[in-house]
């Protein structure tokens, strides 16, 4: 079980958080302009990376804030956490 450094609250147990999957998938501003394939790409397709992955987490049993986290899925090492809207770090 990880220790996650919530950018708003500090270090907390993983049990306080929920994972929201891959980060930086922007909802299209004009969905109606998209083809079925383009919309499906946004809606369904995820990378499922083995290695360094950028993902969304929610401090569900804490401040309830969403934030981003960089985690290596092969060894669970957390490289960085940063607030929503902040630029992703270069890992």
């Amino acid at each position: 079980m990880f220790v996650i450094n919530c950018p708003h609250c500090g270090e907390r147990d993983q049990s306080e958080f929920s994972c929201g999957g891959e980060a930086h998938i922007v909802r299209p501003k004009q969905p109606t302009e998209l083809s079925d394939d383009e919309w499906a790409e946004y809606l369904f397709m995820r990378k499922n990376t083995k290695g360094v992955q950028f993902e969304r987490w929610n401090h569900a049993h804490g401040c309830r804030k969403w934030f981003n986290m960089v985690r290596d899925t092969s060894n669970d090492k957390i490289h960085a956490v940063y607030k929503m809207g902040e630029k992703p770090p270069v890992i």
Binding site: F2, R27, N75, D76
Partner: protein, 1000 residues
């Protein structure tokens, strides 16, 4: 003293007798004994029968690796526990143990016939044999196999014991209280680090604590004496917590560990005094030092499983720790030096001992010690057979060929009553690999050792592959100092003298003069898998160790293969002609030793199992005989039976009353979200399918919320309380998820919106009054208010005062009747409800529960999200096109409604169903077909809601059917077990299609 209690030790108090029973017979042991040592002191080796062949089996070890000596404890009581290792249970007065897996008795077991027919039950026997006829499996094969297999009996009553959980944080956690763990803990604690030392035995010291051999000297003292002093110093350290009887269960990532502490398992039943039985520690440690030790390996030869065949170091522990001799005429069979310590110990106590060694020679100090004492050693020899059914009586040995692949010369028979075996040592790398650590294979002594990579944990001592005392002490000191960044460890100038092993030889499967098919060389003693089973699996094409393991069940018993895994790997490697290091190991999963369910669950039992949410009116419901339904964590009144009514009768009465006069429902559990901010209207536009900008202040509107994939997610009525202020209601079960989803969009997709969400579900209590007399009741409750349709129309809200209490009244309806929902702060909820009941008395106001609510809305064809929808229904499928705005540019899920799949005309769509027999009520979930004769039968839909409507006097149902929109009037079938029910597709609004009653 009994015949076998031949030695006094400081660990067993021979002045304190403890009586216990085994298989109903009474025996005596002493305080400090384990069940195993007490049984051995009474000369009892035979403990149980093996799993498959029902061969007699005895105590083989002295610890958690024990495969054979597993017992049922306290049989026929609530406290009974199966599969307890006799080697781990501390003896207490009145302990009742019995053997397992034998019938009718341990000494005469009818299943022993499996041993005679064993050539016919090889690996995979069950998979191969019981395949046909197929119908025999469920009623004949499976019950029979279960009867003759099985490991012990589960208790039939709830567990009366108390279990506990505790969180703990520390700088350093040391796992294992042997010599390396003690050195580690002392270095850490002396350097002001908060340290926890856990040890699964009742005292510290590991195997060094009974190492009294003169060849093992630390600082001019025998190693056991030296360690005794260290332990007493350790106990004086303030910042060290020592937890004995505590075993590590799991080592998770980020140094999160679970450890189980036995608190009262070792106490007699009458002294437990309701104390906690076991405690699960949840430890977060900054640094972890694993000092888990090593397990002695058995040797694999023909008939190596008889009672009286025991691991050599265990024999030494029984002798030097418990004072019990496992036999009076011993043979030691070994491939390494460590077993010679056992031989010397036995000899020094005056017990007859001989040694059989597969090596050609060894010239270490300990071997010289044995030779000097005159102990007979058979070099370059192997055991080829053993004799004695319930206890070993003799062995046959032969010489090994030059390369060790075969045997030569004549058989030589030697009498014995105990055979100690030692195949070397296996480092306990379980903890290391559980934490994600990798392993390296060390060729010279054929062991897997940890590859040190982690910055947060290290392995020290024999679990790290350091087997000799000097390297254990010195390497532990060096590694711990470096790991904790400490300059002075206190062990820097220590002097260690020990015997050093020079000759190493390992043969995974020892050769025999008879053909392999006629031998039984056991690898997994508990699951009865033999070397030839593994070879058979390889011949049949299994290659991966994980597959061989599952096919032969090697390593899959309750001991998890602590003794067998390495030999299985070795034999696979030898047979396949590959290097063992290239095979890898099977996965070591937690828990390391079995955990009780009680320890896992802790206090979360009974009423603490889950949170129960009750409305402020709950007490009234209880007093009025409500039957409750669980909706999420909420307790909701399901129905209110009068005079022993059943569910059906009560619901028929409640439903009729609600439409004929007045009904009242506790609607407090519906999720309520307070939405404020200058962009609140725009936000609602984006999350609901319909338009919100033009909703007037004081008006209510029904909304449907989709997922981005276009499927219906939730629904509810939202009221505009002010220019920038809304109150949203959600389904009871969806409240938390809806709030999370809305927060997600607000925080991540639309941070520019000025909107604030607050859950107010628990803040308000809601009483919903419906029926043609509801307006009269509201007039009585609020005499100064105008409830005319003009002043207070349908789908609007007004503030009001009742008994000086502010409330909000919404005129909205989920039943199709004229209906009002009154909301007050929850602390006034019960008083509001009682006022409503009092005011409604003259109209026979009838409280109704969720079941009646469901029936009434089904008459009107209103959906329940989660009942009539299942995450695959779009609003179009539900024939709710009217609520999907065509004008809005975007809302959550909009684009998905125009995907090719969501536009298919043959999707399952919501319809009404009427049974040809109006009294026939369909079962919810029943499948629907259009053609009965077509094979295979095509299932075109299913029933989602079904009731007998008292207001229509016939059965009605909602269903989803492929292409159902165009099937009005079509005949379909609902096939049940005994009959096919004929149904007709209909409109799904069954009652008051013109909506006259809402404005009645």
């Amino acid at each position: 003293m009994t015949k076998y209690r031949i030695n006094k030790t400081r660990f067993v108090d021979q002045t304190k007798t403890v009586s216990f029973t085994f298989d109903g017979k009474k025996y005596h042991g002493f305080e400090g004994d384990t069940l195993a040592s007490a049984l051995l002191s009474n000369g009892i080796h035979l403990i149980g029968r093996s799993f498959k062949y029902h061969r007699p089996r005895g105590i083989m070890s002295c610890g958690s690796e024990e495969p054979n000596a597993i017992c049922q404890i306290n049989d026929n009581t609530d406290l009974t526990e199966p599969n307890v290792r006799a080697t781990e249970i501390e003896l207490y007065e009145g302990l009742k143990a019995s053997s397992q897996n034998c019938w009718p008795s341990l000494n005469f077991d009818i299943g022993g016939i499996n041993n005679l027919i064993s050539p016919f039950i090889p690996a995979g026997f069950y998979y191969k044999t019981f395949m046909w006829p197929k119908s025999f499996w469920k009623k004949i094969y499976e019950p029979l196999i279960r009867l003759s297999a099985g490991l012990g009996k589960s208790p039939t009553q709830p567990d009366p014991d108390i279990y506990d959980h505790k969180h703990e944080h520390c700088d350093v956690l040391v796992i294992g209280g042997g010599i390396s763990g003690i050195i580690s803990a002392k270095i850490a604690a002396k350097n002001n680090l908060k340290t926890i030392l856990i040890e699964d035995k009742n005292i510290l010291g590991g195997s060094t604590i009974y190492q009294n051999n003169k060849n093992f000297i630390i600082d001019n003292q025998k190693s056991n004496e030296w360690l005794m002093n260290e332990i007493s110093e350790l106990e004086k350290l303030d910042n060290l917590i020592i937890k004995t009887r505590t075993s590590l269960a799991a080592f998770h990532s980020y140094n999160y560990l679970l450890a189980k502490e036995n608190i009262s398992d070792h106490l007699p039943l009458d002294k437990k005094n309701g104390s906690i039985r076991q405690r699960l520690w949840k430890i977060r440690a900054d640094k972890v030092i694993v000092a888990a030790g090593a397990i002695e390996r058995p040797l694999i030869f023909n008939n190596n499983d008889r009672p009286g065949i025991i691991l050599a170091n265990s024999v030494k522990k029984y002798l030097d720790f418990y004072g019990v001799s496992t036999g009076l005429n011993n043979i030691i069979f070994t491939n390494n030096d460590s077993a010679y310590e056992t031989a010397v110990s036995l000899f020094e106590k005056g017990i007859s001992v001989k040694i059989v060694d597969i090596r050609k020679k060894s010239s270490s100090n300990i071997v010289k010690n044995a030779e000097d004492l005159g102990i007979k050693i058979y070099w370059n020899s192997t055991v080829v057979n053993t004799f004695g059914y319930k206890k070993i009586k003799s062995i046959e040995i032969m010489n090994l060929s030059e390369d060790g692949s075969n045997v030569t010369g004549n058989k030589h028979k030697i009498q014995c009553d105990c055979l100690s075996i030692s195949g070397g040592w296996t480092p306990m790398v379980h903890m290391h690999t559980q934490s994600g650590g990798k392993l390296d294979f060390r060729e010279i002594d054929q062991v897997f050792v940890p590859t040190e990579k982690s910055e947060n944990h290290i392995n020290v001592g024999s679990c790290n592959g350091d087997f000799e005392l000097e390297e254990i002490v010195k390497n532990t000191n060096y590694k711990v100092k470096k790991f904790l960044n400490i300059n002075e460890g206190g062990f820097d100038k220590i002097s260690v003298l020990c015997s050093k092993e020079s000759e190493k030889k390992n043969i995974w499967l020892l050769p025999n003069s008879i053909s392999e098919s006629k031998t039984k060389s056991f690898i997994d003693f508990q699951n009865d898998s033999t070397a030839k089973d593994i070879k058979l699996a390889l011949r049949e094409g299994f290659k991966s160790i994980e597959h061989v393991k599952r096919y032969t069940t090697t390593g899959m018993a309750t001991d998890q293969g602590k003794l067998s895994n390495m030999h299985a790997l070795g034999i696979i490697a030898d047979t396949a002609g590959v290097k063992m290091g290239t095979l890898g190991t099977t996965t070591f999963r937690p828990p390391f030793t079995p955990l009780t369910f009680g320890a896992i669950v802790g206090r979360s039992v009974g009423k603490f199992f889950d949170i129960v949410r009750k409305t402020s009116i709950h007490e009234w419901h209880v007093q009025n005989n409500a039957k409750f339904e669980n909706v999420g964590q909420w307790k909701r009144p399901w129905y209110y039976p009068i005079n022993n009514e059943n569910l059906h009768e009560a619901v028929q009465r409640e439903s009729k009353a609600a439409r004929d006069s007045a009904g009242i429902l506790d609607a407090s559990t519906l999720g309520k979200i307070d939405i404020q901010g200058s962009d609140a209207s725009e936000f609602l536009n984006r999350v609901y399918t319909n338009a919100w900008s033009k909703l007037g202040i004081g008006k209510c509107r029904y909304g449907l919320m989709l997922n981005e994939d276009g499927m219906v997610y939730d629904d509810g009525v939202t009221t505009r309380l002010g220019e920038n202020h809304y109150l949203m209601t959600t389904t009871t079960g969806g409240a938390a998820n809806v709030l999370s989803k809305l927060e997600d969009y607000l925080q991540t997709e639309w941070p520019e919106l000025d909107v604030y969400l607050t859950s107010v579900t628990d803040h308000y209590t809601t009483a919903s009054i419906c029926g043609p007399n509801s307006k009269k009741i509201l007039n009585k409750l609020f005499p100064n208010k105008d409830f005319s349709d003009e002043a207070f129309p349908h789908m609007s809200y007004q503030d009001a005062i009742i008994d000086k209490i502010e409330c909000r009244i919404m005129r909205i309806s989920f039943t199709g009747e004229l209906s009002y929902e009154i909301n007050v702060e929850s602390k006034y909820g019960k008083s509001l409800w009682e006022n409503c009941i009092a005011a409604g008395e003259e109209y026979k106001i009838t409280p109704y529960g969720t079941e009646t609510m469901h029936l009434l809305r089904a008459e009107k064809g209103f959906i329940i999200v989660g009942q009539d929808t299942d995450g695959t229904m779009t609003p179009i499928d539900l024939q709710m096109d009217w609520i999907v705005s065509k004008k809005k540019y975007d809302f959550i899920g909009k684009r998905s409604l125009y995907r090719s799949d969501t536009m298919r005309e043959d999707r399952k769509q919501l319809v009404g169903l009427l049974t040809d027999d109006p009294n026939e009520i369909l079962e919810e979930g029943a499948q629907i077909v259009s053609e009965l004769d077509k094979k295979p039968v095509e299932m075109i839909g299913h029933v989602t809601s079904s009731y007998f409507s008292p207001n229509l006097n016939k059965s009605i149902a909602l269903a989803v059917v492929k292409g159902g929109k165009k099937m009005n009037g079509q005949k379909l079938f609902v096939p049940m077990e005994n009959k096919n029910i004929k149904v007709t597709v209909s409109d799904f609004i069954f009652f008051d299609k013109e909506n006259k009653r809402i404005n009645a």
